[in-house]
């Protein structure tokens, strides 16, 4: 007993008996950078083939098929069309009067890093100790037992990007996860998704760091530039060693490793930025260092520079109608998304909210109809793409998810009625072909550990 206790205290690195063998000792002429870095351990859950029949299928790929069917098997969509044969082993779901869409994807969430119940203990989203913290990874904060996750699942969300907060100029790496019950974030990590680098413009960093700097918008810009100048040199050192890995590898620097990933085009910049003029500055910053900004986030003034965004190929992830909570949000208008769409910019409706993520279909609907009322027509397919195919592109997973097409991954939502109605509810949510949520079946309404005992079991009205 005493021995065990001593062993337990001696070293955090001591492997308890029965655990997996430790990794073989590293050779001196290698670098930890070449070893796996917190890889995904995601595995598809087995589930029977599913045929949803006689529903309105909204593909987000140009089609809305009334009285259509969709068949998926082993996590892949097999067929979509007016009539699809049911294999003998398929579960057949009657979709009469119902609608089917791709799983919803949120480009901007803090679930897991700002988990409920929202006390200091779960506040893990902003490493607000320095304006440039490229070294932090959101996945190292994600709590898979965040009780907000099942709420988002019930809203039809299958994939989200979890970002660090916006206190810092450079806030760290994002992680793209599947919304599934899991013990570890590694089990949720979307294989093959791109990391994002969270950057933030404007009021937040200059407010948080006003006493040590940056305290101005020009200070913000100088901060980004300094960071990327350092990363350029770091990248050169590493690229040289990797091309000819002899001798001592360069010393790792986590912050610059991430920024070098941006310079190489492996990591996508996800840029919190409200004002039009600041977005234009950030486009120039990206040109200076030879990367592109995958998406601006919040972007309440994106409509003022929709043409510039379309030209640069940067997406804009926006709210339907949030505005006014700070000065850089004063000019938010409900037609932002519609005007972006009209200009040919890649448009995304995001949540940035544990509440909003539960009804991104409603948010897209509001933005679509606001456009229509103002004479800026948006098709239903385009509006659906705002919360499916376009966010998939922002995360670099659009070849896998975001539309209902044969060969795509079976992230599928069955809705009680037109998802652009305020009265629509997600009835079933399939994540990679697995029925992860069923409003009609208490056994298929996942609950986190946090909820057990202390949060009343939800009925159909959680």
């Amino acid at each position: 007993m005493a021995l065990l206790a001593a062993a337990g205290c001696a070293s955090g690195g001591a492997a308890p008996s029965g655990a997996a063998a430790p990794a073989p000792a590293a050779r001196a002429d290698t670098s930890s950078a070449q070893r796996p870095q917190y890889p995904s351990t995601y595995r598809r859950h087995d589930y029977r083939p599913v045929l949803i029949r006689n529903a309105t299928i909204m593909t987000a790929a140009g089609q809305e098929i009334a009285g259509g069917s969709i068949l998926f098997r082993d996590g892949r969509i097999v067929a979509v069309g007016a009539s699809v044969e049911a294999p003998a082993d398929a579960i057949v779901v009657d979709g009469t009067g119902k609608y089917v869409t791709p799983g919803i994807i949120d480009t901007h969430s803090h679930l897991g890093v700002y988990a409920a119940p929202g006390t200091w203990a779960e506040s893990d989203g902003n490493e607000a100790t320095s304006p440039v913290t490229g070294e932090v990874w959101a996945e190292h904060s994600v709590w898979p037992q965040d009780p907000q996750i099942p709420l988002a699942v019930a809203g039809g969300v299958t994939v989200m990007q979890v970002l660090p907060g916006s206190a810092n100029l450079i806030g760290g790496r994002s992680v793209v996860v599947r919304l599934i019950p899991a013990r570890t974030v590694q089990e949720m990590k979307f294989p093959g998704a791109r990391y994002g680098l969270k950057m933030a413009c404007g009021e937040n960093p200059k407010r948080v760091y006003q006493n040590r700097g940056p305290s101005t918008r020009m200070g913000n810009m100088a901060g980004y530039r300094d960071a990327f100048i350092a990363a350029e040199a770091y990248r050169r050192r590493w690229d040289a060693w990797l091309a000819d890995p002899k001798g001592t590898p360069p010393e790792r620097n986590l912050e610059q490793e991430t920024l070098a990933g941006v310079l190489r085009g492996d990591i996508y910049v996800q840029n919190h930025c409200y004002r039009a003029d600041e977005m234009a500055q950030m486009l120039d910053l990206a040109r200076e260092f030879g990367f592109s900004i995958r998406s601006f986030h919040h972007a309440v003034e994106a409509y003022k520079i929709a043409d510039l965004l379309a030209q640069a190929g940067s997406a804009a992830s926006v709210w339907a109608d949030w505005w006014g909570f700070k000065e850089e949000a004063m000019d938010g208008i409900q037609e932002n998304a519609a005007l972006l769409q009209q200009a040919g910019a890649r448009t995304v409706i995001h949540s940035d909210s544990p509440s909003g993520i539960q009804r991104l279909n409603q948010e897209a609907a509001k933005a679509m109809y606001a456009g229509a009322r103002a004479g800026i027509p948006v098709t239903r397919d385009q509006a659906l793409r705002w919360i499916t195919a376009n966010p998939a592109w922002v995360l670099g997973i659009d070849s896998l998810v975001g539309t209902l097409e044969p060969g795509k991954v079976a992230d599928v939502v069955l809705w009680s009625r037109d998802p652009f109605s305020v009265y629509s509810q997600a009835l079933q949510v399939y994540n990679d072909g697995w029925l992860v949520y069923d409003r009609a079946d208490a056994e298929r309404r996942p609950r986190t550990d946090f909820e057990l005992w202390q949060v009343p079991a939800p009925g159909v009205d959680r």
């Binding site: 119940p117 409509y303 006014g324 000065e327 009322r373 305020v422 009343p456």
Partner: protein
């Protein structure tokens, strides 16, 4: 000019009229004169010279009433200099009435009213007793023009643990002391003035301001989410015979029968379902469960309830999805809030003699596809423009023509 407008007669004809006080009337006319509804029905004659708003195929309802906002009291949330809703130096601010802080020029007002919201409760927050809320119509050039009720409710916050020394039991005890001392102050005013009385739990002006609350003439809104806090509020209301209204009320559904029996209404945001330690039982079904038990419900918007106060339509639609009858949801954004703030005789329904706050909709007021066709506030048609529509027009085609 104003006088001319006031004298205008407007007939809204041919619509499906949801009076709220009665059953809907098809192909009905609502006749408005001098800011007041003078007739509602299928066989109302339109006087010669009346301005006619053709509402055939459309839906007509009372103007929506958001019973829990800070409209007029905040312009930009993050800018301290234009927030007027709370006192930082008084935790028992019963005499603090927000009326003088209302900004009639607030750009939030047009942004909100063009969405069919014509009337709001604009309430103070912070502290143990936040102060007195007003009811305003969202039109008018002066505060006096806008005011519907100068003192519509006293607002208290049972979750203000700081005001109770760090314990909710301390908060309740302090609230009790304040109410006791308000009684004492009323009874021994002479002694107080001669300084022959122990120091009281609040300033004289604040104790004085609590007299209508103790008399049961001014409702006391207590903000509380947790089941036990709502129970404490109910106990307090029974003991002191207060006209209690529960606001927030995330776990109110657990006490639905008790709230119904005590005739205590609840103001809530139906889309509140994120668990916190004060609201582990938060759920979308809250509004529906309460309504089914017979509790009077007024709907509002969670989070930023000022800039987003227009979203009360979306909240109402979701309340319907999660168990509230559609008629009840409409009542919860019109007549019920009017009633709980003592304005039921003048506001909240389309009836003869009521203030002509009226909205014409292209369809179901809660649906996203619906367009607001016309808004009348006190019988005057409101232009459907705001700073946001100006921004939209400026940038409709790029580059803008500055």
């Amino acid at each position: 000019m104003i006088a001319l407008l006031l004298a205008q007669t407007i007939a809204i004809t041919g619509g499906t009229v949801h009076t709220v006080s009665g059953t809907p009337i098809e192909h009905a006319t609502v006749l408005v004169k001098d800011g007041v509804i003078v007739a509602v029905g299928a066989d109302v004659a339109v006087p010669a010279g009346a301005r006619v708003i053709d509402a055939r195929g459309k839906v007509v309802t009372p103007g929506l009433f958001n019973g829990g906002t800070q409209l007029g009291l905040t312009e930009i949330s993050a800018v301290q200099s234009n927030n007027e809703g709370s006192l930082s130096d008084n935790e028992v601010a019963a005499s603090f009435n927000v009326a003088a802080g209302i900004n009639p020029a607030s750009q939030l007002i047009p942004v909100t009213r063009v969405e069919g919201i014509t009337t709001t409760l604009s309430a103070p927050d912070g502290g143990l007793i936040s102060g007195q809320a007003v009811v305003i119509d969202l039109a008018g050039e002066t505060v006096a023009d806008m005011l519907v009720a100068r003192s519509a409710a006293m607002v208290a916050n049972i979750a203000a643990k700081g005001a109770g020394g760090g314990s909710r039991a301390g908060v309740i005890a302090r609230l009790r002391r304040v109410l006791d001392d308000a009684r004492e102050y009323q009874r021994r005013r002479g002694d107080y003035q001669r300084a022959q009385i122990q120091p009281l739990a609040a300033a004289a002006a604040d104790l004085q301001a609590l007299q209508p609350v103790l008399a049961g003439t001014l409702p006391l809104v207590i903000r509380a989410d947790r089941n036990s806090d709502i129970q404490a509020a109910l106990d307090l209301a029974a003991e002191y015979k207060l006209r209690l209204i529960i606001a927030d009320g995330a776990e109110a559904w657990m006490l639905a029968d008790r709230l119904a029996a005590a005739h205590v209404p609840v103001i809530l945001s139906p889309l509140t379902n994120i668990p916190s330690y004060d609201a582990l039982g938060a759920r979308y079904g809250n509004a529906g469960l309460l309504a089914r038990a017979g509790v009077r419900i007024a709907l509002t918007v969670g989070g930023d309830g000022s800039h987003n106060s227009r979203l009360v339509r979306q909240e109402a639609g979701n309340a319907v999805s999660y168990g509230m009858a559609w008629d009840e949801a409409l009542r919860a954004v019109t007549l019920t809030p009017a009633e709980i703030y003592g304005l039921g005789a003048r506001y909240g329904s389309l009836e003869k003699g009521k203030v002509a706050n009226i909205v014409v909709w292209s369809g179901d007021p809660f649906e996203f596809s619906t367009r607001v066709e016309a808004v009348l506030i006190r019988g005057q048609e409101i232009p459907l423009t705001s700073r946001q529509t100006e921004l939209r027009e400026r940038y409709r085609t790029l580059p803008p023509a500055y």
